[in-house]
Symmetry: D2
Subunit: 230 residues, 4 copies
């Protein structure tokens, strides 16, 4: 299962341990499956989620392979209850892949750290052109520095945070729900939101009952409440 995010990024589900049943199994500390009916299992999942008993959801674990701009990575890595390994820019050369927005965003007057899309064609074309040119030139300087013999770890400091990087990200469902609360939300940066939506889509497809319970009882964000958001 792989979802394209932004123009060149992706989230790919590498592996998942457990399913909707796993939280039930852990909460009951039960020997096997099948002791109760699906209806009772679902009821327990809803009960756990509603009453803040979230620890059983830690026994469901997702492993993702993600390609994302550095500025999004900088936000992802703040979620400490997860395991992350990023491609090293000290060891590997950055390829010529960076993120260019499709449209320009201007400051949001309500949410002072946020932004809104603009319809101004001139601003869009001029702004995007300036972003493209700047990054293009910067990447050329990076390549030139490498040709001159400068070490990768030093040459890369000129590169912008729009550069794509890749990581492996393993996170349990409880920590992932916390991630969605903060990032699948209109206060998150637009590009981060796109990755959060893709995570939510994979979560829903693998654990539909848990996802439904999450949305009903524990989700504090807004984006996932919109019909057809995924």
């Amino acid at each position: 299962m792989e979802i394209k995010v932004l123009e060149k990024g992706f989230i790919r589900l590498v592996e998942v341990m457990g399913d909707d049943f796993s939280a039930v199994q852990a909460a009951r500390v039960s020997y096997g499956k099948g002791l109760t009916t699906p209806e009772r299992d679902k009821k327990l999942i809803f009960y756990l989620m509603e009453h803040g008993h979230h620890s059983p959801f830690e026994h469901i674990i997702f492993k993702f392979h993600i390609k994302l701009p550095i500025f999004v990575m900088r936000q992802l890595v703040r979620h400490r209850i997860a395991s992350i390994n990023e491609r090293s820019g000290r060891y590997t050369e950055f390829s010529d892949e960076w993120y260019i927005p499709e449209r320009i965003r201007t400051p949001d007057k309500v949410n002072r750290q946020g932004s809104v899309f603009v319809d101004d064609d001139d601003l869009n074309s001029e702004g995007i052109r300036l972003i493209e040119e700047t990054i293009e030139k910067t990447y050329q300087a990076y390549k030139r520095l490498l040709e001159m013999g400068v070490a990768r770890e030093l040459a890369r400091i000129v590169l912008p945070t729009s550069m794509y990087t890749e990581c492996y990200w393993t996170i349990n469902a409880r920590s992932m729900m916390n991630f969605l609360n903060l990032r699948a939300d209109s206060h998150a940066q637009y590009e981060m939101q796109q990755y959060a939506l893709a995570v939510a889509k994979i979560f829903k497809s693998k654990c539909p009952v848990t996802y439904e319970a999450f949305l009903n009882f524990a989700y504090t964000g807004d984006l996932l409440k919109t019909e057809g958001c995924l």
Copy 2:
């Protein structure tokens, strides 16, 4: 895979995510498997372990179902980088299962918090009889309290820490190696050692290369270095 531990306990592997290849895959942030040879993969695993690059091993995750005395559980739960759910003594009645040692141990003169087995038959029989009688009477009092109508959460406070309890324990290979460093070691309490040895056995069977690398480069304990210990 289930291993009996002590006379009534067990460690059962419920699920495992990943294998020897997983750390390699995460360290390389690679798209798939099979890009390199098994020899190169093994070499990388050894390199990572030797040079303290342990984060890729977090992407291998074990889920266990464990039956263990409370006094061992009290040590297990101290390993914070793990997910744990224990059967609730507030919700469920304790059954008549407790741990009785096969032989008495006396204080170790070298390791002041440790102990050594004794050959003194009188001490063994007298000591074990006293332990058995005491716990048996205590359990009867617990049952009597429940019959009188005392709430489970209150009646249980008379029960000894030798009572068996059960838990689900999900832990990544990196944290598990730290657990083995401390608990698969002669400084750990004998009963804890038995559980640690069972964990090591399961680890070895699922990730033989990682286990070999661990023993060669990162293991700081002593028990696992003995030939035939598992």
Copy 3:
């Protein structure tokens, strides 16, 4: 600052790092204090709490010395985002201190894992006498085992979870608020609640504005909402 809890336990504040201002300082990444007015600081604390920006509260840290029954300790230790060191029953002999409830509790018909106090004088006196006698005899057996030469780490397995133990517990304000959400709540066991109320009292006295903001915007429990609970 030390608060007696139960008849023989206590919570003692050893040290605290930071105060109400600390979250503000961290959130603004500011060079010093005094750049803004107390009114604006308070407003920011309320804003952070209301909008789920809880990470700045991690920079306020409390260190407690706690004396508590083992069965309460078993719940305390489940809060993983904290540092804990407990007196070792392997190294030190348990003294003759255990918890005896003042009144008996019977199962709560609504909250199936909870309990309610009873007014039945016979049940109270008979129940408490049985608890006392059982623990007293158990402790005598423990002492007898030690006299026989049994190692402390083995002799202690007969001791009940009502025995008092002691620990050092260092926890940041964010994790402490999560602790209060779960433990300063009528669903927690009565004895745990008493410790949680003492923690809340210390929290309030050291960070009154943060505590007020917590109760207004982030507290999900019920006990602290009662007038005069502290």
Copy 4:
């Protein structure tokens, strides 16, 4: 206490909770100070460090205010057992401060991801000039984008990882020792090393006995073993 790092960065100790005595106090779960002699305290600190009993050191906590390039911040933030708040580039405009190396480094032939300083004057002057020009132009483009009305969170994606940012970083001594093992080491990037050395200097000045014990028994890096390194 504030230490300049690189040409424009710094590490400033905001607060520290505890001192050399704190680990002793936590390990003994003692009521107060002064029960034993300084000699016995020091002996215990050395014992704990040597035998891998590192949890008592979690009760010593440092709070730093750090100014550092983004590419160093990206490494700092990987240490998950710490609390961090960074100045937001969504909320605040980046000022014209970036890191320019004093000398160029070329790839290290031994350590493939590392680098070594060069004496080639031409390469030094040409390399540094190219880095300076590139970043200067990029920053001008950033300012131009802001003038055009582009939102800060979007305009900043052109900025290089050499830009200075600031954060509050609270970390306990145990996690800090792990940080020093990895970052006060010749395998770390040169710029990261400078921050690690400053952290070590502050650690040593506040907890001289713990620092001495760390270097003797638990430090796995190399830089701090050099005479006069701090």
